[in-house]
């Protein structure tokens, strides 16, 4: 029984991590380029930030519910969970990328233009390195939140540590709830610490 629990915890923690890692990978691949786009195209700024903010205001359980009937991305299972987690993680990443780039000292960007750097060279060599800390901070916030939100995945058959929590709630079993909650909190702390360390390592802007 004890060993069963231990192996369950390991299995579900791994599943939880997979959900979070997939969602974060997609959110970063979408959010950073979109944030760069925001910094360069003021026209799309209100529209994109608005969309990401609205996505974040939808209660997570409701969002999972909304997504189930949507063709291709919906249904029961991990795919729906990952889509929902991506929608939540997008705003902090998007916003921090945009803010990080927009707050690079105007004199620095001006002199980069005056030296004859191309737009891409300025982005890669100047704006992104100087915005890196802010971008990582956004990824950190999003990751910690996603680890917590992912526990709701179990409600629509996505697995992860939420399985323990829902099982515990249904059977009024605190031990089961803790078996889900403690590893989830530990994951969040580790992610926070690790990404915080990277953030501090990056040279101050």
């Amino acid at each position: 029984m004890r060993e069963d629990l231990a192996s369950d915890i390991l299995r579900l923690t791994a599943e939880h991590l997979t959900l979070v890692a997939s969602a974060m990978a997609i959110a970063i691949l979408l959010g950073v380029p979109l944030g760069i786009l925001l910094a360069r195209r003021p026209a799309v700024r209100a529209w994109l930030l608005g969309f990401a903010s609205v996505a974040q205001t939808i209660p997570s359980l409701a969002l999972f519910g909304f997504l189930i009937p949507v063709p291709f991305i919906g249904g029961i299972g991990k795919r729906t969970v990952i889509v929902a987690l991506v929608l939540y993680a997008l705003l902090p990443i998007l916003r921090n990328t945009f803010v990080g780039i927009a707050s690079v000292d105007a004199a620095v960007v001006d002199s980069a233009v005056a030296m004859g750097m191309t737009g891409n060279q300025i982005l890669r060599q100047v704006q992104l390195p100087l915005a890196a800390r802010t971008i990582i901070a956004g990824i950190r916030v999003a990751t910690v939140a996603t680890i917590g939100t992912a526990t709701i995945a179990a409600a629509i058959g996505g697995g992860g540590l939420g399985v323990f929590i829902f099982r515990g709630i249904n059977s009024v079993d605190t031990a089961q709830i803790l078996a889900g909650a403690i590893p989830s909190a530990a994951l969040a702390l580790i992610a926070d610490g690790g990404l915080g360390w990277i953030e501090r390592k990056l040279s101050p802007a």
Partner: protein, 249 residues
């Protein structure tokens, strides 16, 4: 107008009836100006008189609303925008050194963009640091935040000189420095001009600086070119704006 003799007579920079406006507000009106190779033209004026705009029109960061700016005989609109900027060194008041680049990396910026070999770049960086009176071994690896204001400005000048451009633009480069350092850097500027004989356009609102550094002074008032004269001639100028500036002496 062909042949080598005409090249020598050709102004390096020419403003032909140049006007510039932002959102309907006139910044520069009908500027006519020719800058010959080797001279230091000072653009003098109050803030908002259009001096910095004139610099940005020269290196193609801005384009005139009417008229044209010609550099080396070609309109800035016809130049490849990147090529034009790399042929012109630019020093701005806030310096704009990259905070995440070392002194050496900052100076090496344009040579690296121009794909010089690593050894040539390194040699050039050391040579420029020495020219600016900064020991290469001491300063090469420092970051801008580890420099004083005067040192930062020197690195900014070294960066502008790095790829040996024929034309240098200075946008109030010494404005934020204390008077002692400013005088030192002005001296150094004069020495550099003697040694390298670059063409320079130097923007300032300080009439002493204008008289000390300029071979000619162009006084801008409300976007119009009011006086264009050598320093001696400028001191005899009679317009209201010229007298207002001369009263600061």
């Amino acid at each position: 107008m062909t042949g080598s003799w005409s090249n020598e007579l050709m102004p390096l920079v020419e403003f032909r009836n140049v006007s510039y406006e932002i959102a309907g507000r006139r910044i520069l009106s009908n500027i006519e100006l020719a800058i010959d190779p080797g001279e230091t033209l000072v653009l003098l004026g109050r803030s908002g008189s259009g001096k910095s705009t004139a610099l940005k029109l020269t290196n193609g960061m801005l384009f005139p609303a009417s008229g044209e700016v010609r550099v080396e005989g070609r309109s800035t609109r016809e130049w490849d925008p990147i090529r034009l900027k790399r042929r012109i060194g630019y020093v701005i008041q806030d310096v704009g050194l990259f905070p995440h680049f070392t002194v050496a990396e900052n100076i090496a910026l344009v040579p690296k963009l121009e794909e010089w070999s690593a050894s040539r770049v390194a040699g050039r960086v050391d040579q420029l640091l020495e020219t600016m009176g900064m020991a290469p071994a001491d300063f090469r690896a420092r970051y801008p935040r580890e420099l004083s204001g005067g040192q930062r400005q020197r690195v900014g000048v070294a960066r502008a000189l790095a790829a040996d451009p024929p034309l240098l633009l200075f946008d109030e480069p010494f404005g934020a420095l204390d008077p002692v350092i400013r005088t030192e850097l002005q001296q150094q500027f004069l020495e550099l001009q003697r040694n390298f004989k670059k063409t320079a356009i130097f923007v300032t609102h300080d009439v002493r600086e204008a008289l000390r550094l300029g071979t000619r002074i162009a006084l801008l008032a409300d976007g119009k070119l009011e006086v264009l004269a050598d320093p001696a001639g400028f001191q005899r100028a009679h317009t209201a704006e010229a007298r207002a500036f001369l009263a600061c002496l």
